[in-house]
């Protein structure tokens, strides 16, 4: 197996007396989709927040492409290539869908000093925004104000914005939540298409989708890794069945 692009060692996060993340080691590889499962409160979102820099680790380390990024701020992690989406839609509601993505793409090509140039004349940035909208299936919705999009479309926009930042690592927090069957199917196709070029960490409750797209699955309970491995192994694991999937699981 090739070297991990993003890896944690002994990662801990304490909230008062609660260990939300306890001594966690997880590694993401390019071309692999790594799904994280676990019951509510297992620490899945905390893990994403630690990797994206929204939260600081209490102890432990995070390495990205061989570099120690444990103390990098959230914006710096985004700039080095770690993109994330949010479980609760986190967009610019008053801007058009296109502008949401254009801003995201603009962050890759900072031209802060070009205060006399109209942002819409920046071809590469606008093109990157359009491609991201297309990839997420929102190609026809660019001119619509984000707050007027349906819930499912806003979930798609959430992904489109991450794609517009052209990240190497994608941290996706429940991208399928609240999506209709058709939108969810399209998102699953998108995940399959994105996997070869990215290292993806996916937190998702939709079991069918997870087993369809994941190359690796880690099951977390109480901030710790219960089991980690290929989907077939996780499916067969007795510990996982008892803790999470329930005995009726496939």
């Amino acid at each position: 197996m090739s070297d991990a692009i993003l890896a944690t060692q002994g990662l801990c996060r304490r909230f008062g007396g609660l260990m939300a993340t306890n001594n966690l080691a997880i590694a993401l590889h390019r071309g692999r989709l790594h799904a994280v499962l676990g019951p509510n409160g297992a620490g899945k979102t905390t893990l994403i927040n630690l990797l994206s820099g929204d939260l600081r680790a209490s102890s432990g380390s995070i390495r990205y492409k061989g570099e120690d990024i444990t103390h990098y701020s959230a914006d710096r992690r985004s700039r080095v290539g770690i993109g994330r989406s949010y479980q609760k839609t986190n967009i610019f509601p008053a801007f058009t869908a296109f502008e949401n993505c254009r801003l995201a793409a603009q962050s890759r090509m900072p031209r802060a000093l070009h205060i006399f140039a109209n942002a819409l004349d920046d071809g590469p940035v606008c093109e990157a925004a359009r491609q991201a909208l297309d990839a997420a299936g929102l190609g026809a919705c660019g001119d619509r104000v984000a707050s007027t999009l349906s819930h499912g479309e806003q979930r798609q926009l959430e992904i489109a914005m991450v794609l517009a930042t052209a990240p190497d690592v994608l941290l996706l927090d429940e991208p399928l939540a609240g999506m209709g069957a058709e939108e969810a199917a399209r998102m699953v196709e998108l995940l399959k298409k994105l996997t070869p070029g990215h290292a993806i960490l996916l937190v998702e409750h939709d079991m069918d989708a997870v087993f369809e797209v994941a190359n690796v699955i880690t099951v977390m309970v109480n901030g710790q890794v219960l089991e980690s491995g290929e989907p077939a192994r996780i499916r067969a694991s007795v510990a996982v069945r008892q803790a999470y999937l329930g005995d009726a699981a496939p």
Partner: protein, 333 residues
């Protein structure tokens, strides 16, 4: 079909807007020709306040930073002229004006380094605290003339190598110079807000958290916005000192910071037209109520409360509301 109708309606609204703007510009351009010096000077004063309000709108209306200490930079710009002006000669406009903007900008940069980390109510309080520090430095020390301030014996000269294209002791010339400055600031901010930088500021106002996670160094953008706003406030302060020939600590007081915020609220936050309209409305109400009663501040306060309740978008939202009620248009802009 529907979109076609909407397009036509939008086109008409645009032309109407252009006509209104043109009329306003022509009125402003011809106003001094009416020959009433008192009103020429009054409108000059109001246009200076409009520049001040425009500069604050960049912070409050477009970056989402509610500064309650913006008068500090207005005052620094004014005092720069007061302190640079020689006693027995006129100061040179072309040297002192850029100097005033530079000093105000540097002051804003220095203050900004500390304040941009604060959020919400803390940002308001920290900017107020810094402005009070500036106020007491000028009020309680001798170097700026203490509480009396500085009176200048001469208006600045616009002379370049012996040739003066206009005369700043002439009220009409001052009027046109200030009008040009206001239009330049307006055009500058409009361009800036359409640029990548300006759009990033508006993104920060809308959703700062997401801007960070998209990779924007948000604090640096805020600092740049704070510095630009301070520089333009310094321009307004300079023009004010130039018009009246004196500076005093009241220019930096929190009343002044509060008044310019009220102008923005009157006019509508996040609209450049609103900032200008707010400055004019504020001055008009002040003049009107002062002519009626000595307790004019009471009336002004009541008017602002009524406006916030019944017209939350400020004056800039009037045309939009008008269209909505008349045509039944529901989409914004």
């Amino acid at each position: 079909m529907r979109s076609g109708v909407a397009l036509v309606a939008k086109g008409q609204a645009l032309t109407r807007k252009k006509i209104v703007l043109l009329v306003v510009l022509v009125v402003l351009a011809l106003f001094p020709l009416a020959g009433a010096t008192f009103y020429t000077e009054l409108v000059t004063k109001v246009m200076i306040l409009a520049i001040f309000a425009l500069s604050l709108d960049l912070l409050v209306g477009y970056t989402g930073l509610v500064s309650f200490g913006h008068a500090a930079f207005f005052g620094v710009g004014a005092y720069t002229l007061g302190l640079l002006a020689p006693k027995y000669d006129p100061a040179n406009l072309w040297l002192t004006l850029p100097a005033a903007m530079l000093v105000a900008g540097l002051a804003a940069l220095a203050v900004g380094v500390f304040v941009v980390r604060a959020k919400g109510i803390y940002f308001i309080m920290v900017t107020l605290a810094f402005a009070q520090m500036f106020y007491f430095v000028f009020h309680d020390t001798k170097f700026g003339g203490g509480s009396d301030g500085i009176s200048m014996n001469f208006k600045p000269t616009a002379s370049i190598a012996g040739f003066a294209p206009f005369d700043l002791s002439n009220a009409t010339h001052v009027y046109y110079f200030v009008l040009a400055a206001m239009l330049a600031v307006f055009a500058f901010l409009r361009t800036l807000l359409g640029s990548a930088f300006g759009r990033a500021l508006q993104g920060i106002r809308s959703n700062e958290h997401r801007m960070r996670s998209l990779g924007f160094p948000v604090d640096r953008y805020k600092l740049a916005s704070f510095t630009i706003a301070g520089t333009l406030a310094g321009l307004a302060g300079y023009l004010s000192a130039m018009q009246f020939g004196f500076v005093n600590p009241e220019m930096l007081s929190w009343h002044q910071s509060g008044n310019v915020l009220l102008m923005l609220i009157l006019g509508g936050l996040g609209s450049l037209y609103g900032a200008v309209a707010g400055a004019f409305a504020f001055a008009a109400l002040e003049e009107l109520y002062q002519s009626v009663t000595t307790h004019w501040q009471l009336l002004l306060g009541a008017t602002i409360i009524a406006l916030v309740i019944f017209l939350p978008g400020g004056l800039a939202s009037v045309t939009r509301r008008f269209q909505r009620t008349l045509i039944g248009k529901t989409d914004d802009e």
